[in-house]
């Protein structure tokens, strides 16, 4: 097993059941062994592609424009006060 599921699930912010940990470990192992075939290719000196069409960084004029109202932004909040999102206690 190449992967520490415990560590990964923490990084991914996923609280997994024991059953999921076992299943995902097996799935990841098999997928990663398949992905190992990329190492058959010599990619020394090959430029990585992050974007397929060459675009320079797109900028626009910094002009104020309308955005969502506070009420619209809060409409889907699972928990809120009149003006804010509400979350569980952060600091003891």
């Amino acid at each position: 097993m190449k992967v520490s599921i415990e560590h990964l699930s923490r990084l991914a912010r996923l609280s997994l059941s024991d059953e999921e940990k076992t299943r995902f470990a097996a799935n990841l192992d098999s997928i990663l062994s398949y992905i190992d075939k990329l190492n058959e290719l010599d990619t020394a000196g090959v430029e990585p592609t992050s974007h397929v069409i060459s675009l320079a960084t797109v900028v626009r004029e910094d002009v104020p424009r309308e955005s969502l109202s506070r009420e619209e932004a809060l409409l889907n909040a699972p928990d809120r006060t009149e003006k804010f999102y509400r979350v569980p206690k952060i600091i003891e």
Binding site: S9, N27, L28, V46, P48, T49, H51, L55, E72, P78
Partner: protein, 484 residues
Amino acid sequence: MELYRLGVQELLDMMRRGEATASEVIRSVYARIDNVEDRIRAYVTLSREEAMKMADKADEDMKAGDVKPLSGIPIAIKDNMCTLGIRTTCSSKILRNFIPPYESTVTKRLLEGGYVLTGKTNLDEFAMGSSTENSGLQVTRNPWDTGRIPGGSSGGSAAAVAADECIAALGSDTGGSIRQPASLCGVVGMKPTYGRVSRYGLVAFASSLDQIGPITKNVTDCSLMLNAISGRDPLDSTSAPVETPDFSSFVGREIKGMRIGIPKEYFIEGMDPEVEAAVREAVRRMEGLGAAPVEVSLPHTGYAVAAYYILCTSEASSNLARYDGVKYGFRAGGKDLMDMYMRSRAEGFGPEVKLRIMLGTYALSSGYYDAYYKKAQQVRTLIKNDFERALTDVDILVTPTSPTAAFKLGEKTDDPLQMYLADIFTISVNLAGVPAVSIPCGFTSGNLPMGLQLIGRHFDEGTLLQAAYAYEQSTEWHKRKPAL
């Protein structure tokens, strides 16, 4: 002929001649939905009341002489595109009650075009899958055989078009999610060039690969839908500053002398012999129309699936970090903030989404980045170069869309890797960013549709439509309907 059976162009013509009204068309489509939807389950949300109002509005506009490009056409939207005030779930429990406070650019453009929204269609949760079985809400069935999958992830949109539960639909395609379900449902599906269509308001899965496109009953309708949704959008910095040609002007041009490349790597072991025979026959048919087939090579084809599953999961793990149970979406209880995050995500996401987040997190984690993510980006360059090289010698490439026709429900759900390999012919196209369209090219002995994939140069959807239409018109495949 029932109105729901018809396509976009036919209905536009009828409405403009005064032979039908938008209100009659939407009523016919809804009568069809009422009749077959319990067997297909293509829709996650039906917006019947809004649809009737939109149709009335289209009729008023047309009566007043204001005829728009899609006036009164009932269109279904995959449920990962935001529709203002109409629930948008991504077929995920985590967004089950999400009501977008804004409109996606594509649906805004369809609104400006006068469309009628039939409803929001089912998908694999967050568009991650090839069968729509990963939906967190329901299972959609293939209209040609309800014991089989419709393909995915735009399975709801493809099934709705095939079952005549809408006149056309939008899907999104990250690794084949428009073309593969279109192929398996016997309809036309196009993934435009990356950057052709704005992604603003499309719930992000893998931002460097995602692209929105049409699913339609024929090639002409595909060109009309592409006209409506294309173009640079200041709200999506990756939408390309290129002109939108009139795509329908390519429809009807002959293909004499067109050079069509047949990539030898796309005829592999494990491919259904009926699919191979159908594709070879389609090539002969195009040759008969004056096209010149040549064998070409895309040597890195065998590495596409591996590179894709590193890139798409890495991007997904980052994009899906926003679901934290705070601003929108599902929240579970927790003893503190971290506990709340971890439980909300664990309970809100389904198994395939969690697996992909884990894989992407691994690929991006400290110490593994170069070995996986950077390596996959380099392989992406090699794949992109393959296409650019091949497409200098030929005008388009012709391949199967999927190695098999629709498989049975449950057949591949236990093995994620087997499911990933269902997209073996479509994934490279997203990595290269080129456009591709799937069109029907025959039926198996079991009466299941098979699809032909045409692949073109960047921003050359026109040539694809030209070739697709010429082939389509030389066959009767697009006229067949499932017996429902």
